[in-house]
């Protein structure tokens, strides 16, 4: 009895506020726009009984999904989201790996402090961290005035309101997600392995490439997924830093819903975004499982 209660409460909560809403999105993505409140049709009318239900299902169709493939805005946004998320994941790896490596090889008494310094930004508002780059990257911003002052450039760089600013924003805000798994993989590593490799005639670089890099592989893969998956559906970064030039699907969904008030198309955009995300999510789960099994042995 008590067990049933314990299961039922969170179960029903999640069914009502997670699963049902998602089914509603699925249903509306198959509906048509209408000038009504709510602005889509058909509406399910249970008062007419079984005929009403049949009529309801016969009116659902894949029109919105067909529309998404015909209008180039949508598939361009999906492609550019995948490109931006993928490339910024790689850049984050290049920035994050040396940092994680430096932390893992730091003197023992320094490590807790360094770890806290990486986690601290995570507790600070995401929105503020993105915002902080607006003053740096704009045409009259800190970066441009500094570079002009030193004479490295003659004309201000156009970074703000281009995809380049979005890359900077993603790398900056998701860096801790990359650093932490790599750090924990490197910290577990037995350093005598490096000494052994060097004793056996490896150069420092070869020892890194043949020993350290493969041993940190699980951390690297985990970090890449932790950056790529949220970056793909990102809304805040492209809308604050990207300007109108940057196409990302999270922003398109937002505008479709709030500016164009086309709920069926917004829902269809959401369904496809989720289908795209399923691939990296399944791969990520598998990698985690493998890592756990390897640890259990």
């Amino acid at each position: 009895m008590r067990r049933a209660f314990l299961i039922a409460v969170p179960y029903i909560w999640l069914l009502l506020l997670f699963l049902v809403p998602f089914l509603i999105v699925l249903k509306i993505s198959l509906s048509d726009v209408a000038l009504a409140r709510p602005p889509y049709m058909p509406q399910l009318d249970l008062s007419t009984g079984w005929d009403g239900i049949k009529a309801f299902f016969s009116e659902l169709d894949f029109e919105n999904f067909v529309f998404l493939t015909t209008d180039s805005l949508y598939w361009k946004s999906y492609l550019s989201s995948v490109k931006i998320a993928g490339l910024s994941t790689l850049i984050t790896l290049c920035v994050g790996y040396p940092l994680a490596y430096g932390m893992a090889r730091a003197p023992d008494e320094w490590r807790p402090t360094l770890l806290m310094l990486v986690i601290l930004p995570f507790w600070t508002s995401f929105l503020i961290r993105v915002y902080s780059w607006m003053g740096i990257l704009s045409t009259e911003g800190v970066l441009n005035s500094f570079l002009l002052w030193t004479g490295i450039i003659d004309e201000p760089l156009m970074i703000m309101n281009t995809p380049r600013a979005v890359y900077v924003g993603i790398v900056y805000t998701y860096l801790p997600f990359m650093v932490l798994p790599i750090y924990s993989a490197l910290e577990k590593m037995d350093e005598s392995l490096i000494e052994a490799a060097e004793d056996l005639g490896c150069s420092k670089l070869a020892a890194f490439w043949l020993v350290t890099w493969p041993l940190s592989k699980n951390g690297i893969i985990a970090g890449c997924f932790l950056v790529f998956i949220p970056a793909l559906g990102e809304f805040v970064i492209p809308s604050l830093l990207g300007g109108s030039e940057t196409l990302m699907i999270g922003k398109v969904l937002w505008e479709e819903f709030f500016n164009n008030r086309d709920w069926p198309v917004a829902s269809a955009v959401a369904v496809i975004l989720l289908l795209i995300l399923i691939i990296p999510i399944v791969l990520f789960q598998r990698n985690e499982q493998k890592a756990r099994e390897a640890e259990g042995q």
Binding site: I28, V95, R129, L253, A270
Partner: protein, 272 residues
């Protein structure tokens, strides 16, 4: 003893400079007399004054705090229950769906969570405002809480609970007297995580709120959409300050607790 190598020191310096420089600049410019970022017109706290006189910001801060406290408390309750079910309840019908629903919100893009909840609230004709944001925040943050708490539950020794039951505790007493104190640190960090997620959320709150409730992130977002705003610099500095003090205090407390525990364990070992 180990030292920093030249390479490691450089990569740490560059990495942390990248992480902290933007925030340091934000703090510096919040004290700038001028509206422009590039012109230093002298030290001034006038933006803080303007911020604190702005009723809209104070209202938004109050709404955000209310939503944060309610949703994170509810999320901690539900998330701890969910964690207990995942780790202890064994097999039951629909267990796969249950664990799927716990993990899916963690990777769900915010725009989709927000959109789907909004469509639900409209579908059932619920007036949107503080209440609907609380529902939305509770739903996604309870999943984070349950992940944090379940990792603690799996790692602890179950025989302690069984011993309490053997000694005559009811299952509820065993939970209250044995399990809860052991998982308490995870429950507390779960609450803090849920609270931070709630304070931080822009996207889901924008979808699920109505005209009556504006949270701080929504206010900040609409203020900075068109460019840098000195008032927001001041607000950011205040928030960064609160977080820094909070995190440092928390780490000092946990460090002291760890030292005290180590001392107790040593003392216990001596008396044996």
């Amino acid at each position: 003893m180990r030292r920093f190598s030249w390479f490691n020191a450089t990569s740490l310096t560059i990495g942390f400079a990248f992480l902290y420089l933007p925030m340091v600049l934000l703090v510096i410019y919040s004290f700038n007399e001028s509206r422009l970022v590039t012109v230093w017109a002298g030290f001034s706290t006038k933006w803080y004054g303007e911020l604190l006189r702005d009723e809209a910001f104070l209202d938004a801060a109050w709404v955000t705090l209310k939503v944060g406290v309610f949703s994170s408390t509810l999320a901690t309750l539900l998330g701890t229950m969910a964690a207990y079910v995942l780790v202890r309840a064994g097999r039951f019908h629909g267990r796969t769906l249950f664990s799927g629903m716990i993990y899916a919100p963690l990777v769900m893009p915010e725009v989709i969570t927000g959109l789907s909840l909004l469509l639900l609230f409209i579908g059932i004709g619920l007036d949107r405002g503080v209440f609907t944001i609380v529902l939305a925040h509770t739903t996604f943050s309870m999943c984070y809480v349950s992940v944090v708490v379940s990792s603690r539950l799996t790692s602890f020794d179950r025989s302690l609970e069984e011993a309490a039951l053997d000694l005559g505790c009811s299952p509820f007493e065993a939970f209250r007297l044995v399990t809860l104190p052991i998982i308490a640190p995870a429950v507390i960090s779960g609450w803090l995580l849920a609270f931070t997620l709630s304070l931080d959320d822009l996207v889901i709150a924008s979808f699920t709120t109505g005209p009556s409730a504006t949270t701080l992130p929504i206010k900040i977002f609409s203020a900075v959409r068109l460019g840098v705003s000195p008032q927001i610099n001041a607000l950011s500095t205040i928030l960064i300050g609160i977080v820094t003090v909070g995190v440092i205090t928390a780490s000092v407390i946990t460090k002291r607790a760890a030292v005290a525990q180590a001392r107790d364990e040593q003392a216990a070992a001596r008396t044996e």
